[in-house]
């Protein structure tokens, strides 16, 4: 069985930018371990020479001219922001 230790659980929570209280880490580590164990069934498949799937339907992505086709919708873009000021999204100070 795959083991995710507390340190790995803490790390993955941080990478995912989700605050997980220290006391919840053991349960999280156990759940993640269970799910990873379930995924280990994949190790018994012979995938030698198999290409990883990139597109489920064989299609060529369409191309378009690289031009501006939309814009002037600043108010709409900001209308749902939790904190918008002077035409910008506002966030806590990033640079000291």
């Amino acid at each position: 069985m795959s083991e995710i230790d507390l340190e790995s659980a803490r790390k993955v929570a941080h990478l995912a930018r989700i605050a997980v209280p220290e006391e919840n880490l053991p349960a999280l580590a156990q759940e993640l371990s269970q799910i990873l164990t379930f995924m280990e069934a994949l190790n018994s498949v012979d995938v030698d020479g198999v290409e990883p799937m990139t597109s489920v339907t064989p299609m060529r992505l369409k191309r378009r001219h690289d031009q501006v086709t939309d814009g002037d919708v600043q108010a709409k873009i900001l209308s749902n922001a939790p904190d918008a000021r002077e035409g910008f999204f506002a966030v806590p100070k990033v640079v000291e």
């Binding site: 930018r17 989700i18 269970q34 994949l42 799937m53 489920v56 709409k76 749902n80 939790p82």
Partner: protein, 493 residues
């Protein structure tokens, strides 16, 4: 005319065109049913004024002689679809208060065809779940009830399925990433089709796993599925994976003639521990298709058992990437910060408060399988297995198989809360028969085919060749006719 909310799309369309009923009357009947049906918790954002406006406009349009099939038909829209000016929060706290400035392409097409949106429908948070128990709005309750227990309508399109089964609307939109249309359809005795990947535009639908997500209709009959699917399909330049193919007239393909069609029965779908009733229903379905002139062929899809583990690598990987956008900056919830908190604390607290437990779990699993050192072992291996799963189907189709018949779910609807103590993997097993179809990008339809011993609906699934929804619907229509399923839940709400 009474019980207008119980009509099918096809019947309502004919009555509307004949001038025997108005869209306003249909809409009022549904709005009343929605009000009576609060105990089901299916509709979570009602739009009665908008609905009556649109119904009035639809009536005027029909009178002027311009009546597309969906014109005047009252429907529900899953909360995953962005609807202009109407709350759209994917049943998540993190999108609390979000009112999109735009309309999803699929709901825009329905709106432009004259369909009347009654409101938004409950679902599992971000479409992650198989029981509709992960929603910020609370559980949806299945209108089917055979004892004291409240049952799940399935998920993630549980609100859509419950609303259609309980006649709160004539039909609803759903989305399906691993079975989220077909499993709830099976649990509620309704019809749900997931079209070929690329048939419906994903633009404006809150993304879960972009290489798997597809929208589709949830309806009372196969004919209704054909009518509504046609209105939802079509090329959209705003979605680069949308297929630039003509959309057939699906309804006209319901000829009832499936003579000579080859129906595959995949032996790998006969699972250990599957209830006898489901096995028997499956055999009965095959027999009905044989009686209709189809040829039944045993086939093998050897990589079936790896579909769920591959899905639970790929879908969370894509979700962890898609859900990175919920950062408390551009829309939705932002956590209250303490003095000295910086932007990282803002992200971490916002996402901890905004995402429920299952969404957090999947985002973290996805983050893990994409992280340095594990990418090849998990993510790339899963994508290779996905290639093999798709190849299984291609080989079956190359041998002349037209459709594949399987059970839709490994059980009938279970009780709400019954899976609370189980580990997450137990819940994932609900999707065992449906998830292969998403991995291979194929069209699949679930339809009711019988009742179990307790009186709960059981569904069968038909899987079609890519882009051949018409042939798939034709076979499903024959099966629907032959099984003669007409049961409805007894009204207790």
């Amino acid at each position: 005319m009474s019980d207008l909310n119980k009509l099918t799309i096809a019947k309502a369309r004919d009555l509307l065109r004949a001038g025997e009923v108005t869209s306003v009357e249909l809409t009022e009947a549904c709005l009343a049913a929605i009000n009576e049906g609060r105990a089901l918790n299916a509709f979570v954002h009602d739009t009665p004024e908008l609905a009556l406006d649109r119904a009035g406009a639809a009536d005027a349009r029909i009178q002027s002689g311009d009546a597309p099939a969906m014109c005047g038909i009252p429907i529900g829209i899953k909360d995953l679809f962005c609807t202009e000016g109407v709350a759209s929060q994917a049943a998540s706290r993190i999108l609390e208060g979000f009112k999109p400035e735009y309309e999803s392409q699929v709901s825009a097409q329905l709106r432009d065809a004259g369909a009347v949106m009654l409101g938004k429908l409950n679902m599992d948070e971000f479409a992650m779940g198989s029981s509709n128990e992960t929603s910020v709005y609370g559980n949806v309750v299945n209108p089917w009830k055979v004892d004291d227990r409240q049952l799940t309508p399935g998920g993630s399109s549980g609100g859509s399925a419950a609303a259609v089964a309980a006649d709160l609307c004539l039909a609803a939109t759903g989305t399906d990433t691993g079975g989220s249309i077909r499993q709830p359809a099976a649990f509620t005795g309704t019809v749900g089709i997931k079209p070929t990947y690329g048939r419906c535009s994903r633009w404006g639908i809150v993304a879960f796993a972009s290489s798997l997500d597809q929208a589709g209709p949830m309806t009372k009959t196969v004919r209704d599925a054909a009518i509504m699917l046609e209105a939802m399909c079509g090329h959209d330049p705003k979605d680069s994976t949308s297929a630039d193919l003509p959309v057939p007239d699906f309804e006209s393909m319901l000829t009832g003639d499936i003579r000579g069609q080859k129906i595959g029965i995949p032996r790998e779908y006969r699972m250990d521990g599957m209830p006898d009733e489901i096995d028997a229903l499956w055999a009965k379905g095959a027999e009905m298709l044989r009686d209709a002139g189809a040829e039944i062929v045993d086939i093998s899809l050897p990589h079936t058992q790896y579909a769920l583990p591959a899905y639970y690598v790929i879908a969370p990987a894509e979700a962890s990437s898609n859900l990175a956008r919920y950062d408390g900056v551009r829309y939705g919830h932002r956590a209250k910060l303490e003095a000295g908190d910086g932007i990282t604390q803002m992200y971490e607290k916002t996402r901890a408060e905004g995402f429920g437990a299952e969404v957090q779990r999947r985002v973290m699993i996805g983050t893990y399988v994409l992280s340095a050192g594990f990418y090849d072992a998990y993510y790339n291996r899963a994508r290779k297995v996905r290639t093999l799963i798709k190849r299984d189907f291609e080989e079956a189709f190359a041998r002349g198989i037209d459709c594949i018949l399987t059970p839709a779910t490994p059980s009938a609807a279970f009780g709400l809360g019954e899976m609370a103590e189980a580990d997450p993997v137990q819940m994932y097993l609900n999707d065992v028969f449906t998830v292969t179809v998403n991995l291979a990008g194929l069209p699949g339809i679930a339809l009711p085919a019988g009742l179990d011993a307790k009186g709960l609906p059981l569904g069968l699934q038909l899987i079609g060749r890519p882009w051949e929804e018409g042939a798939l619907l034709r076979t499903a229509h024959v099966l629907e006719d032959a099984s003669g399923f007409v049961s409805k839940p007894e009204k207790w709400w």
